[in-house]
């Protein structure tokens, strides 16, 4: 039945046929998008596990690399040391930069926010390819400063790469803190810094922790800037910031696959598996931190 050009169902209301089809199509697309996101994750994990596990030796964790064989103890310890360094350096500057952007950057006389320069700078920095930063780090720190391949050069370059993520993540997390809290703290006579530390940051911790986690995952997975700054070292990492190359897990993944020996290939996949486990552990730690910090959160899900 057609009345005035529109299809009308037998009960007199306009037909919902088209809307129901549109709804189904929309649902199908969201499901498809989900699959496109999840499938590669499963694929990567399954692929690495399938190739690393069959010839897994526990001695990989305890022995150092010898040529393109042996174990990965040196690389694991090196990666952990570098992550710790990045967590300290990038964590401090990234979080403080984010706090400045979100809370302290006031307005200048023209009514523009003063943090604009800093924000643009971090955005540009986030867009610079990591290999370019690695090259700059190599020329400036390794060559010009005569540091040689060293932990400090690696930590600084990695920090420069991840600071934008941390600053941005911190800023976003702080901006989502309800105005209620700030006003309440202000009205009690807390200073800006005190209310930030005791009230505001507390509810931004999940966002900040997540950004730190992403930063660590990025830094443990970077390869190009590491080749330029950390070099490669098959011995146990030494407690020296300068003139001392250090091992790290992405090196075997990148290099050993090209070697004409099964031993080297196995080691490449072992390193990939260990990297994967490290990232998963980071995820779990971040979840625990978030859960603990959110005991008193307003929107806590029980």
């Amino acid at each position: 039945m057609v009345v005035g050009g529109a299809r009308v169902a037998s009960d007199g209301y306009p037909s919902t046929h088209r809307r129901r089809i549109a709804d189904r199509v929309f649902r199908a697309f969201t499901l498809l998008a989900l699959l496109v996101i999840v499938a590669p994750v499963i694929w990567v994990i399954a692929g690495i596990v399938a190739r690393a596990v069959p010839h897994w030796r526990w001695s990989v964790l305890t022995t150092n690399t010898v040529g393109a064989g042996g174990g990965l103890d040196n690389a694991i310890l090196g990666s952990l040391a570098i992550m710790l360094g990045v967590l300290i350096v990038a964590g401090i500057f990234g979080v403080l930069g984010g706090v400045y952007l979100a809370e302290l950057a006031g307005f200048n006389r023209n009514g523009k926010q003063r943090g604009a320069v800093l924000r643009s700078a971090t955005e540009v920095l986030a867009g610079v390819p990591s290999i370019a930063l690695g090259l700059v780090g190599y020329l400036a720190l390794v060559v010009e400063f005569h540091w040689g391949f060293s932990v400090l050069a690696a930590v600084i370059v990695l920090s420069v790469i991840v600071i934008p993520y941390i600053a941005r993540g911190t800023e976003v997390a702080l901006r989502q803190v309800p105005t209620n809290y700030r006003e309440g703290a202000e009205a009690l006579g807390m200073s800006t810094g005190y209310s930030l530390r005791k009230v505001v940051v507390r509810s931004a911790i999940p966002g900040i922790a997540t950004s730190l986690l992403i930063a660590l995952a990025i830094s443990v997975g970077e390869t190009a800037p590491m080749l330029y700054t950390a070099g490669w070292f098959t011995g146990t990492p030494k407690a020296s910031l300068f003139h001392q190359p250090i091992g790290y897990l992405t090196y075997p993944v990148w290099t050993f696959w090209d070697y004409p020996s099964d031993q080297a290939h196995y080691l490449a996949f072992d390193a990939a598996l260990i990297l994967l486990v490290m990232v998963l552990v980071l995820l779990v730690i971040a979840r625990l931190v978030v859960a603990r910090s959110q005991r008193f959160a307003e929107n806590r899900r029980n």
Binding site: F107, N180, L188, G189, M190, S191, S195, K198, R295, R300
Partner: protein, 282 residues
């Protein structure tokens, strides 16, 4: 000497003898009777004038209700008193507000101390994301009024004062967001009282609460005087009548009328006031 005069002199104690007694009866007796004074205060955000030429004094130990239609400048006026508007971009003020004779904007004024003396309770309960006990003592810690075990004492004392202690004494380490809205607001009141303010600003403190919680809060407000001076913004005319000693009526950025509550409601001098309190304008 005349025996009658002599007997009188015996009964008349010298000022120095009486002082400690009077001091104990009323610790504030040597302080000015008007705690707050607004002297031709005008407020504006950028080009937009919000309040013009408000002159009013707030007597120590009284409750003043601030009424008027939406957008009349009630909240702006209230938030100016503890300088919550200072940071709002474009905020300008003319005239002055003085707390015990000294301008709140005086260069010698310590903003944090001003806010300790002039506390505030907001429209929606805003407990911090920390345990109930930490909420009560948050301001106490910030101002370093007490520490360690003393904090427990402060927390108990203030929770008793607002009548929450018996209900939540076993839940002091739990999240405040599991309390009901009314209990949350009482918690915020306890938190505000814990730093020992002289003036408490209340911005529609019961508008998000149910009628029973509202009644509890209103009863508490009466108990807080005369130790505190209260200024309460309210949309609820019944509440203004029930709790306040004085009422001020703001209309379109001007203080139209102020005076004792009963008089303002029953015999308003201005036509606008009468229209508002009788519900002809809203």
């Amino acid at each position: 000497m005349d025996p009658v005069l002599e007997a009188q002199r015996d009964q008349t104690h010298s000022a120095s003898e009486m002082d400690p007694i009077l001091e104990a009866l009323d610790p504030d007796r040597t302080r000015p009777a008007d705690v707050l004074h607004s002297n031709s205060l005008s407020l504006a955000f950028g080009e937009k004038a919000v309040l013009s030429d408000v002159n009013i004094s707030f007597r120590r130990g009284t409750i003043t209700a601030l009424i008027g239609p939406t957008g009349c400048g009630k909240s702006t006026f209230l938030r100016t008193i503890n300088r919550m508007n200072d940071k709002v971009s474009g905020f300008r003020h003319g005239g002055d507000v003085s707390l015990e004779g000294e301008s709140i904007w005086a260069p010698t004024r310590n903003l944090l101390l001003l806010r300790r003396r002039v506390g505030m309770l907001f429209q929606r309960p805003n407990p911090f994301p920390m345990s109930i006990k930490d909420n009560v003592v948050a301001g106490v810690k910030a101002h370093q009024i007490a520490k360690g075990k003393q904090l427990d004492v402060v927390a108990e004392e203030r929770l008793r004062q607002v009548g929450l202690w018996d209900a939540i004494k076993d839940r002091l380490n739990e999240s405040p967001y599991r309390l009901s809205g009314g209990q949350q607001q009482l918690l915020c009141l306890a938190r505000a009282l814990a730093v020992g303010p002289e003036v408490l600003l209340l911005d529609e403190p019961t508008s998000s609460l149910d009628p029973i919680s509202t009644e509890v809060v209103e009863a508490l407000l009466r108990e807080l005087t005369p130790a505190l001076t209260l200024i309460i913004v309210t949309h609820n005319l019944g509440q203004a009548r029930r709790v306040s000693d004085n009422t001020m009526f703001l209309y379109q950025g001007e203080l139209v009328e102020h005076g004792p509550t009963a008089q303002l409601f029953e015999h308003p001098k201005e036509a606008h006031t009468e229209n508002y309190v009788t519900g002809r304008i809203g």
